[in-house]
């Protein structure tokens, strides 16, 4: 992969918006990788949590949006609670989800969820799942 | 050539500048040449120069001969090979170039086995010349104040020839035990007469370390152990200095092949440090200098 890095992307509105929603300053991250190290689901992610931040630092928000990372984050906050720079990747991913929802895209189709699931699973899981996966 | 030499000596002694001419003369029975010290112009007829003149007279310019020094400024009759020793002595501050008048003799070789020369009707055939003469690149003296004799156009062979070199190869081909055995054989014969040391103009130390006994550096007994040490030390002290004049081996009454070990070390010096002794009186012998970049150390683990 080859990327052009430029001021326009780094200082783009999309990034600025993301930082506003998430309340996190991605440039505070110094890429120690603790988040990736502690994340229970990083093994499943297209782009590891720390690398998500990196891509945002260099203005590559589209690549981040295309990754499955935000949909895998369970919000356990291991990353946040251990970050030496107090950057919450979970918040950034949450903001990414928000941004996605605001553009009208859902991650799952509610209608496809089997009834048995809805019946047997604790409510909170269903509620939480809806909150995380659909707008 | 002899006439030229005598003329030059006469001139030098006559000028008053020179106190003594160190040269060669016949012994009484004219069977051998021997060092002579000519101080008077009228004695210069005693000077000879021929194939019998094997001695390296530079030894008389060392500090061991205060009585020679007392005779005034010396002029020395020197073949190219002897001049190499003078060059090292100058490099090591034993005298200044100006302190000695070098009468350089062009030379077509010398012979150690006098009776062989005689058997050849006084003619010097290559078979009876020492190795140094076969490989000599200073038959025309390289440093001198005056050159006596016709310039020779002898060029030494590219690859040095002679028994010494064969012997080196032969020894190198042995295993360690073989090499040790070889030298043990020879060194054990040593009688510690120190003729090798005394005849060498580069062994000019006022007091040789063998003569020191606090501490006793080298066992003074002529048993194998003491002999081994002595010969190793002698070779080491001449490393990078020896000019291969061959006097030590010639002087050795028990025929220890000292030339082999000396030449081996000279080859090492040339290979490792690109140093050949006796050519440049300005260049310090290699063992007391170093080259940070180029000195190899692959053997130091």
């Amino acid at each position: 992969m080859k990327m052009n890095i430029n001021k326009d992307e780094i200082q783009s509105y999309a990034i600025e918006q993301l930082e506003r929603i998430s309340g996190e300053a991605t440039k505070n991250c110094y890429q120690c990788g603790n988040c990736t190290g502690g994340c229970p689901v990083s093994y499943e992610m297209d782009i590891a949590p720390s690398k998500i931040i990196r891509m945002l630092q260099i203005g590559k928000i589209e690549a981040v949006k295309a990754a499955n990372t935000m949909w895998l984050c369970v919000g356990c906050l291991q990353c946040h609670s251990r970050c030496p720079k107090s950057v919450s990747v979970a918040s950034v991913l949450d903001a990414l989800r928000q941004a996605t929802f605001r553009s009208g895209a859902d991650h799952i189709d509610v209608k496809e969820i089997p009834v048995s699931f809805l019946k047997n699973t604790p409510q909170q899981a269903i509620v939480c799942g809806f909150r995380k996966f659909v707008s | 050539m002899e006439a030229e030499l005598r003329e030059k000596a006469k001139e030098l002694l006559g000028s008053g500048e020179i106190g003594v001419v160190i040269g060669f003369g016949w012994n009484k029975r004219k069977t051998r040449t021997t060092p002579v010290f000519i101080t008077k112009a009228e004695d210069t007829d005693k000077l000879v120069f021929n194939a019998y003149c094997v001695n390296n007279l530079s030894v008389y310019l060392t500090r061991k001969y205060p009585d020679v020094k007392a005779m005034g400024k010396a002029a020395i009759v020197a073949k190219g090979c002897d001049i190499k020793n003078l060059a090292v002595m100058i490099a090591e501050g034993q005298f200044k170039r100006d302190d000695t008048y070098i009468i350089g003799m062009t030379c077509s070789g010398v012979g150690y086995k006098q009776e062989l020369i005689e058997a050849n009707g006084g003619e010097l055939k290559p078979e009876i010349m020492p190795v140094k003469c076969h490989n000599c690149d200073v038959r025309n003296p390289h440093i001198s104040d005056a050159v006596i004799g016709e310039t020779t156009d002898f060029t030494p062979p590219e690859e040095p020839v002679g028994m010494v070199f064969d012997k080196i190869k032969q020894i190198e081909a042995m295993d360690a035990k073989g090499r040790f055995g070889f030298w043990e054989e020879h060194f054990s014969r040593c009688i510690k007469c120190y003729a090798c040391r005394q005849v060498c103009s580069l062994c000019y130390c006022d007091r040789c370390i063998t003569d020191k006994n606090t501490p006793q550096w080298i066992d003074s007994s002529a048993h194998a152990r003491g002999n081994f040490s002595w010969n190793l030390v002698r070779a080491m002290h001449l490393t990078g200095r020896c000019t291969f004049c061959g006097e030590c081996e010639r002087a050795c009454p028990v025929n220890i092949p000292l030339n082999v070990i000396n030449k081996k070390m000279a080859v090492v010096m040339e290979d490792a440090f690109d140093h050949r002794s006796g050519y440049d009186p300005e260049v310090h012998p290699p063992m007391i200098v170093f080259d940070i970049e180029n000195d190899k150390e692959e053997f130091i683990k």
């Binding site: 906050l77 949450d94 509620v127 | -």
Partner: protein, 288 residues
């Protein structure tokens, strides 16, 4: 003593045993958990991005109603606790956000409610010593792993029920109950939570890790304070047992259930029937 109590959605449905055992235990320990008159779903997840104000509305409503009924509210479910407490902190930290939320829910909440967890009540109000005294049925040599999950602990600054990397509050309670508390490395790791919707594979792996970690240290029983954790652990244990015949089943029960048992309640009172893996054979084995 009455304590205002917020059960949340799950405790009235799949986690009835949690609710029941807690109420009964409270009785035994001399206080009453009084369910709020008015409550709604907390939303089950706290909005991580502060820009998402909407998601605060539901928990704010809970807080508002609770405040009307008292000065504090107690929860059992870790998730409810986390959401309510964090919402409360968030509203208190940012008065503008509080105003916005109030505007939206048309209430006038001032942020003065105290959100506590049942564990905190037991530790701080009742005291574990008192629990110890009240134990009627010591659980003998039962080796119990305390599983905290995420919501009880993180983020520490906002939630802070105990030390966030090495909490011991449940272990302390277990000790008071006379169990042998088993500490295990994965006790604060995530169970997979809502990924059970669509990514059971991830949940199975994460919960499986937790169980393996606990079993590895010798736990025979795992206690939780979160219905989703309980569900995930049970569910993944089922699949573990499908592939690994040698796996000895580990009952996953709520800490209040075990508490209830130690306080001498009946199995019904402790709501043991709701659990997939029954603890009773184990207790029997131990002669409890």
């Amino acid at each position: 003593m009455k304590i205002p109590y917020y059960p949340g959605c799950t405790l009235n449905t799949t986690a009835k045993g949690f609710d029941l055992s807690a109420r009964e235990s409270a009785q035994t320990l001399g206080f009453e958990m009084e369910e709020l008159e008015q409550w709604n779903c907390c939303g089950a997840c706290f909005p991580l991005s502060p820009g998402n104000v909407m998601a605060l509305a539901a928990p704010a409503k809970v807080l508002t109603n609770a405040r009307k009924e008292g000065e504090s509210v107690t929860t059992l479910c870790s998730v409810c606790y986390n959401v309510l407490k964090r919402t409360n902190v968030a509203l208190n930290e940012d008065k503008a956000r509080l105003a916005a939320v109030n505007d939206f829910i048309e209430e006038d909440y001032d942020g003065s409610l105290k959100v506590v967890h049942m564990l905190e009540v037991l530790r701080d109000t009742i005291g574990f010593d008192k629990v110890k005294e009240a134990v009627m049925r010591p659980l003998g040599k039962l080796k119990v792993g305390a599983y905290y999950g995420c919501m009880l602990l993180r983020p520490f600054k906002d939630v802070g029920i105990d030390r966030h990397e090495g909490p011991t509050i449940i272990e302390d309670l277990l000790t008071a109950m006379g169990c042998e508390a088993i500490d295990f490395p994965d006790k604060i790791e995530c169970c997979g939570a809502h990924l059970t919707m669509g990514r059971e594979d991830v949940v199975e792996k994460l919960s499986g890790n937790v169980i393996a970690s606990a079993v590895n240290r010798g736990a025979e029983v795992i206690v939780t304070s979160c219905p989703l954790c309980q569900y995930n652990l049970e569910k993944s244990q089922e699949s573990i047992m499908e592939t690994n015949a040698g796996h000895k089943e580990v009952p996953i029960i709520y800490f209040t259930q075990l508490l209830g048992l130690s306080l001498g309640q009946t199995d019904e009172m402790a709501g043991l029937d709701g659990n997939k893996f029954d603890i009773r054979p184990l207790l029997k084995e131990r002669g409890v």
